[in-house]
Symmetry: C2
Subunit: 148 residues, 2 copies
Amino acid sequence: MKRHILLYGLLAGVLIVVLRLIEYRYLIATRSVEIYGGLIAALFAALGIWLGVTLTGRPERVVIREVSVPAASTFVADPARREALGITKRELEILELMAAGMSNKEIADHIFVSENTVKTHASRLFDKLGARRRTQAISTAKSSGLIP
Amino acid sequence: MKRHILLYGLLAGVLIVVLRLIEYRYLIATRSVEIYGGLIAALFAALGIWLGVTLTGRPERVVIREVSVPAASTFVADPARREALGITKRELEILELMAAGMSNKEIADHIFVSENTVKTHASRLFDKLGARRRTQAISTAKSSGLIP
DNA sequence: CCGAAAATCATACCAACGGGTGACTGCGCA
DNA sequence: TGCGCAGTCACCCGTTGGTATGATTTTCGG
């Protein structure tokens, strides 16, 4: 800000000096004041525009818009959470299918294993999650960020 | 924009005319060109500043900063969804407790009714949701926006 | 005040779920 | 090569969940 004003004054002074030099050196006719005037006007107008633009800066208005981000779409399964609880990939797979509302038999048919296998996976899963029912397992897994 | 330029030119012309009139009318000494120069400089600088501010001031740059807001906290249970499926308040209550991982007995103790009552509520709920298991009911209710 | 919807409870039955135990097979790592 | 882990499967048994049917009471709008 102060630099601008100083620069402005300095330029004005230099211009005046230049004009005087021209006047004395080349003895330009007195009535050519219009030429000087126009010159000065153009120069200072340009300077003024530059100043105006520089001083006022860009009026940047920041609008903070709260956008509700669908948690499901931004969900990324990170293995860190899974391994923190000692849950294997297969167990997580069964957990997801359970959360989708499938029965043990349906899960078994879906991943091509026997129902007993699904049961043992589920049992170990409940143990690791500290759940006694599948609904409880789903609930805690959800709040742990294990599943969307 | 165009209006500004026109106004600018007009002002310049008027100023020149005024200066000439002053020059001829009062016969001001030739070497007082500095005074004229300073005058013109000041005027046009002011004009330029005004122009700069006016011209650049218009395009207000709006920066939209999207703030991610947890979707879960913005959840509001609207009765429209519930009634569209013909689900009663009590049934929704049982649904929420089911989704929290409670057993029928726990729900019964929680809302001070018998386990049989919870069972009948649950049965009707499954019927309305087209679910055969509680996990499935929770899953569909969630995707329907019935529960968070 | 009356009737429909909602809420409550019971009984019986069968399917699904969950716990416990034991066993077998690959696979990677020491 | 042996050990541990993940995955697979089986059996039994008790608990829980879900369906069907029927009944009573409460609530609420016309």
